[in-house]
């Protein structure tokens, strides 16, 4: 899959941004590219990219995140290394942005340089099965708030509709019309529909632009 130098992953909180961002980074790395993933979440101190620090290290993907991520301190801090995103053009960056419009504020400092360079994709991650984005109108409302706060318009949609462990192929297929109507209203394409790779066989040939999620965010939930 082709990605621009900077891939910004935004969306409603709980839509699966972190998981999508990790898998894009993984995909880029598999293509032999130099990749950094930046955790710029200033909203939620729980379940962060930082939780996957060991896997990222093993794969040679640089993790840029606040020293306080995953700690006992609740501070909306940004890492100083974030300036490499726009300063170091030799590397690909995947940006994991915090949920909703408040999270997208973190983009403001970088937005002018990102737009000026113009080698970015601003992805809107959507999930039809989240309670506050269950229909087209409510989802578009949330996405508009995010664009406004972040200062960068969305360029494409990532349909990451899932029900966690209960996700099956119908869960994904039933979300396609929802994603299409959001794409039509916002006049931006669907970059891809992402799904857990265990559904690959069942979904084979049924989805355009499928994107297999090979890496699952390490959560305590998996153990219990």
């Amino acid at each position: 899959m082709e990605f621009k130098r900077i891939t910004i992953v935004c969306g409603h909180y709980g839509s699966g941004k972190t998981n999508v961002a990790l898998n894009i980074a993984y995909n880029l790395k598999a293509q032999g590219k130099k990749v950094s993933i930046a955790d710029l979440d200033i909203v939620n101190p729980y379940f962060r990219t930082k939780d996957s620090v060991d896997e990222l290290k093993a794969m040679g993907i640089e993790l840029i995140c606040s020293d306080y991520a995953g700690s006992n301190l609740d501070i909306p801090a940004l890492p100083d290394r974030m300036y490499a995103i726009t300063d170091d053009r030799s590397s690909n960056f995947v940006l994991d942005i915090g949920g909703d419009d408040r999270g997208a504020l973190a983009l403001g400092r970088l937005a002018p340089a990102i737009i000026k360079e113009n080698n970015y994709e601003m992805l809107a991650v959507i999930n039809k099965y989240r309670p506050l984005t269950r229909d087209t109108d409510s989802t578009v409302e949330v996405l508009r708030e995010i664009e406004f706060a972040g200062g960068i318009p969305f360029t494409a949609i990532v349909n990451n509709s899932n029900l966690g462990d209960d996700t099956d192929s119908n869960t994904v297929i039933d979300s396609l019309a929802y994603a299409k109507s959001i794409s039509d209203i916002m006049k931006i394409p669907i970059a891809f529909t992402s799904y857990d790779e265990r559904l690959s066989t069942e979904l084979s040939g049924k989805i355009d632009n499928g994107f297999k999620l090979k890496m699952q965010k390490s959560l305590l939930k998996k153990e219990c």
Binding site: G14, R130, L132, L163
Partner: protein, 355 residues
């Protein structure tokens, strides 16, 4: 299937409260429960409800007192340090026999502590929290579905007994995401509240909501009467889950996230031929005393798995009259015991354990 939604535990509480008819939310943000407030802020204006971010926790709990006095379903939510601030209000709610729904998504303490999960407010919740003789019904969910179903249950119990019902969750329960079936939630209509201050229309005497009694004899009687009601709660409202207890020789006692971790450890112990089981209290007050007492007839060791320095273990000992051996398996400060640690405790107990 198609009707399920993927929710965080905190969101499940908020949505379930709305389903239960709650239209008044007062709170003050604190990690790890902020999504309850964030959800209410988005939802309440759209359904004609009130979301208000108060100037402090103390203000929020007193707003709860006000709305409850007017007979409406009302809630607040916070995390450990915030609940300490609300404790005075909890005592006043109890003293005025007002129903209320309060959520504590616990974090590590004491003091400012940290934001990671904990269960160390067990004493505070089960012993009332504020001053004076009183209890709250305390529910301990162990899944996002239970965060929703116990929220609905809590509103019913609170109204039925005119007392505060609390969800005592931990940060993991608040933050984790699981599919939830909201349509299965069973909501009882709120009972008539003839005591509420809804206006007399010059047709009845004034209703007075108060916790001040000038005569000690009168205050004593009010306390006696209140504890008669608590006896009813203890008789009718106990909830627990038994897991593989039929032939168990070792019993794990755990609630919330600790129960989920323990289930894995128990399965592993069973695979190694150790007869382990679990009693998971769902109500922490009233504590499921009888099931523990009965278990003590054949269990030789109880292991209390807690995200605290050992609080529920005291209730386990009391319920079983200290007849067995007792072990604590714990992590604190925002850390969570892993299945391996629980399994090691079970194996130790199987090899004789310690008194």
């Amino acid at each position: 299937m198609a009707d399920k939604v993927l929710m965080k535990g905190n969101e499940a509480i908020a949505e379930a409260a709305i389903i239960a008819g709650c239209r008044h939310y007062f709170g003050y943000p604190i990690t790890p429960q902020t999504e309850v407030a964030a959800y209410m802020a988005k939802k309440m204006p759209k359904i004609g409800g009130t979301f208000l971010q108060a100037e402090s926790e103390i203000a929020a709990i007193n707003m709860v007192y006000g709305v409850s006095s007017a007979g409406k379903r009302v809630m607040t939510s916070s995390s450990s340090p915030g609940i300490s601030l609300k404790s005075e209000g909890l005592s006043y709610l109890a003293g005025a026999d007002l129903p209320a729904f309060v959520v504590n998504v616990q974090r590590g303490g004491p003091g400012l502590g940290g934001i990671q999960p904990s269960q160390s407010d067990y004493f505070q919740a089960t012993r009332g929290g504020g001053h004076g003789d009183y209890h709250m019904v305390v529910y301990a969910p162990a899944s996002v579905q239970e965060m929703a179903s116990l929220t609905v249950k809590a509103f019913d119990t609170a109204d039925k007994y005119r007392m505060t019902a609390m969800i005592l969750a931990d940060g993991t329960m608040g933050q984790m995401m699981e599919p939830v079936d909201l349509e299965s939630l069973k909501v009882e209509p709120a009972p008539e509240k003839p005591w509420a201050t809804t206006g007399t229309d010059n047709k009845r005497e004034h209703n007075i909501i108060n916790s001040l009694y000038l005569k000690p004899e009168q205050l004593e009687q009010v306390n006696f009467d209140r504890f008669k009601r608590y006896e009813q709660v203890e008789a009718n409202e106990v909830m627990f889950e038994e897991y593989l207890m039929d032939d168990a020789e070792i019993c794990v006692a755990a609630f919330g996230i600790a129960a989920r971790v323990s289930k894995n450890a128990i399965n592993a112990a069973r695979a190694n031929g150790i007869k382990a089981g679990m009693i998971r209290p769902i109500t922490l007050w009233p504590f499921p005393k009888d099931v523990f007492k009965k278990a003590a007839e054949k269990i030789h060791a109880f292991i209390s798995v807690e995200l605290s320095m050992g609080q529920m273990i005291e209730d386990v000992k009391l319920a079983t009259e200290c007849k067995a051996k007792y072990m604590l398996c714990n992590r604190v400060g925002g850390m969570i015991p892993l299945p391996d640690q629980v399994l090691a405790s079970i194996e130790e107990a199987a090899n004789g354990g310690e008194k």
